[in-house]
């Protein structure tokens, strides 16, 4: 419904990522490159998944168990890819550290590593929002709107933007948790990220029930806030740890 609504839906899904981008990522060119490569990696994952599932599509309407399989397989594939992404990042970190040694600059700080992980997660979130929400948005710029039967209280575009916002948050911060978990070998962090991703994916299946989105979307936001809290707690602990480590040596 008009250009204003269209821009509103787009900003709803991508507003926080835009402010993160402007305030943190755009200041360091390397983070912009990380964001672009991360988006590319997740786009490739979506293409591979769609290639695998293409023979079985279109799925029958109103039957929900094939979608369970779809979500399960996609989440497993993406989590495996996340681990590979982390392996690649470790190689890059070694290269960056040796480069810093050569030009006699300090090695990567903890905040640098956290920022790179954040940029990678933001790339994942932006890829999700762009392909699942923004690419279906152009009709919203016209004069009319669209409602889905199963969620008839709000326009389809609004619901998909709200869900996309939750997923952007989940993806951005679970990448930070995952990188720190893999780096420190912390089993809790390593397991919690796939669990969060899977539960978020399964919660969207609740939308299959009639008016299910009334329950599904708030629960999804619960998962997103849990991710945020866990990530914040973990980062705070790491920063305190590193400050305690480097503090006494200055005296």
């Amino acid at each position: 419904m008009t250009v204003a609504a269209g821009i509103g839906y787009a900003l709803l899904a991508l507003g926080p990522s835009l402010s993160l981008f402007v305030s943190v990522i755009s200041r360091k060119p390397f983070l912009i490159l990380t964001l672009l490569s991360s988006t590319l990696v997740w786009l490739v994952s979506l293409i591979v998944l769609s290639g695998l599932w293409r023979p079985f599509l279109p799925l029958k309407a109103n039957v929900w168990w094939p979608y369970t399989l779809l979500v399960l397989s996609s989440v497993c594939f993406q989590e495996a890819l996340r681990f590979l992404f982390w392996k690649l990042y470790m190689r890059l970190e070694d290269v960056l550290d040796s480069f810093a040694d050569r030009i006699s600059r300090p090695r990567l700080f903890l905040t640098d590593k956290l920022q790179i992980a954040l940029a990678g997660g933001l790339g994942h979130g932006v890829a999700h929002a762009v392909f699942f929400c923004l690419s279906l948005l152009p009709p919203a710029f016209g004069p009319a709107t669209f409602y889905v039967d199963r969620c008839s209280k709000v326009p389809f575009f609004l619901v998909s933007a709200i869900i996309a916002l939750a997923f952007v948050t989940i993806h951005t911060f679970s990448m930070v948790i995952a990188f720190e978990g893999y780096a420190k070998g912390n089993k809790v962090d390593q397991v919690i990220v796939p669990v969060i991703h899977l539960s978020a994916g399964m919660l969207t299946l609740v939308n299959f029930a009639s008016e299910g989105c009334v329950i599904g979307v708030p629960l999804l936001y619960l998962v997103a806030s849990l991710t945020l809290l866990h990530c914040g707690k973990m980062v705070w602990q790491r920063l305190i740890e590193s400050r305690n480590q480097s503090g006494p040596t200055l005296r």
């Binding site: 912009i32 490159l33 290639g51 152009p138 299946l205 989105c213």
Partner: protein, 390 residues
């Protein structure tokens, strides 16, 4: 102890990769503007009677069979690539005969034609679309001013770099928009044909672009061409060797379009005072240091990256044509082209010789377009229309 207070030490992450971003930003702006124009002025492609040398052999109509369309598109591209080859050899001949003034004048003339003619047409389409109230006298004065300033910006090297960069991007946008009005099959086959031509013209020993670059190197001159130059980065570390990566491009509009793409890397260790836009850092260290991976991918050295205008134009044509189908293909093609550009710059630093800029990006872009159109769209629409996401 005051000296042991914590000073915020700058990390390497602060400035790494600045040159790449300096070239990615204008490419992205050009692509975004072309997509915006295509979406705003979405004229029905089959009804436009755009005729140029690229449709000389065959003009596509909706009623032809796919095989006819493919054959026709193939013939069109053949004619176009042949025309470009002839024009490039002409350029090589003129450069060999040292007619540099003539080439510069021709460059300025083509910039004037693009800005005045194509720019005027697009402005009229936009005014028509938005019902903007303006009279013809004001419009012609504004257009005249705009074109003349553009010609000066392209011609003179002492112009403000921001205005020059802006005008080069505008020229790229205008030419790219007109190329998107070609028929669909012709566009795709033409893009692939140009990528192959670029590969041949730069890497084969008899290729015109390779001859041009070798002549320019041997005479130590710049080829007069429309080239976009990113703002150079000045490092305070004097041990870094200045590296210059540029692509040569001569853009010729109307129906005799000639696009030449060449990538070249040069290490320079002495001052060049006439190049006002590239302040060089005097390097005192030996140039036989072992190259690390980071310097190899161009992130370590500082210097201005130059990219030819033909690359801008054909990347934007690809993305503009993807925009005529759906926005999902636009995002996929944009990411593919950026990835291709990064790969090309990496290969350039590894091989250190003239490399074509089009092939990797165009091939990746075309592959991603068809993958997105055939596979991704069905999958994503299935999932999101049922509000199932992951």
């Amino acid at each position: 102890m005051d000296r042991n207070q914590q000073r915020p030490r700058s990390s390497i992450l602060d400035s790494l990769g600045e040159e790449l971003i300096g070239i990615l930003t204008p490419v992205s702006i050009c692509m975004f503007t072309v997509v915006l124009l295509v979406c705003l002025l979405n004229s029905d492609p089959s009804s436009s009677s755009f005729s140029s040398i690229a449709t000389a052999a065959y003009s596509e109509t909706d009623s032809d069979s796919p095989w006819d369309k493919l054959l026709g598109a193939f013939l069109n591209s053949l004619v176009f690539v042949a025309a470009i080859t002839v024009a490039t050899f002409l350029l090589v001949l003129l450069f060999y005969l040292r007619c540099v003034t003539f080439l510069k004048l021709y460059m300025g003339f083509s910039a004037l034609v693009v800005l005045a003619n194509l720019g005027g047409e697009i402005s009229i389409l936009l005014i028509d679309r938005f019902r903007f109230p303006i009279d013809s006298l004001t419009f012609s004065i504004l257009l005249f001013n705009f074109s003349v300033v553009g010609v000066f910006a392209v011609f003179m090297s002492r112009f403000s770099i921001l205005i020059t960069q802006g005008y080069l991007v505008v020229i790229g946008v205008l030419v790219a928009y007109f190329f998107t009005m070609l028929p669909e099959w012709t566009t795709w086959v033409l893009l692939v044909a140009l990528a192959l031509y670029d590969l041949a013209a730069v890497l084969l020993p008899v290729g015109p672009l390779r001859l041009l670059v070798e002549m320019a190197i041997s005479r130590d001159e710049d080829i007069p061409a429309l080239v976009y130059e990113a703002r150079p980065v000045i490092r305070d570390d004097s041990r870094l060797v200045q590296r210059r990566v540029w692509r040569e491009q001569r853009s010729n509009v109307n129906d005799d379009d000639v696009e030449n793409n060449v990538v070249r890397a040069e290490e320079e260790e002495e001052q060049r005072s006439e190049e006002i836009s590239v302040p060089l850092i005097d390097s005192s260290s030996s140039s036989s240091r072992p190259e690390t991976f980071l310097e190899g991918i161009g992130l370590g050295a500082s210097g201005a990256i130059k990219l030819g205008l033909g690359d801008f134009i054909f990347y934007s044509v690809l993305v503009g044509r993807a925009a005529m189908y759906d926005l999902m293909t636009v995002y996929a093609c944009y990411l593919a082209i950026i990835a291709g550009l990064g790969v090309t710059l990496m290969l350039l630093s590894v091989y250190q010789k003239a490399l074509p800029a089009l092939p990797v990006s165009i091939m990746l872009g075309v592959v991603f377009y068809f993958l997105a159109r055939l596979f991704l769209e069905v999958f994503v629409v299935q999932c999101s229309s049922n509000l199932v996401m992951f």
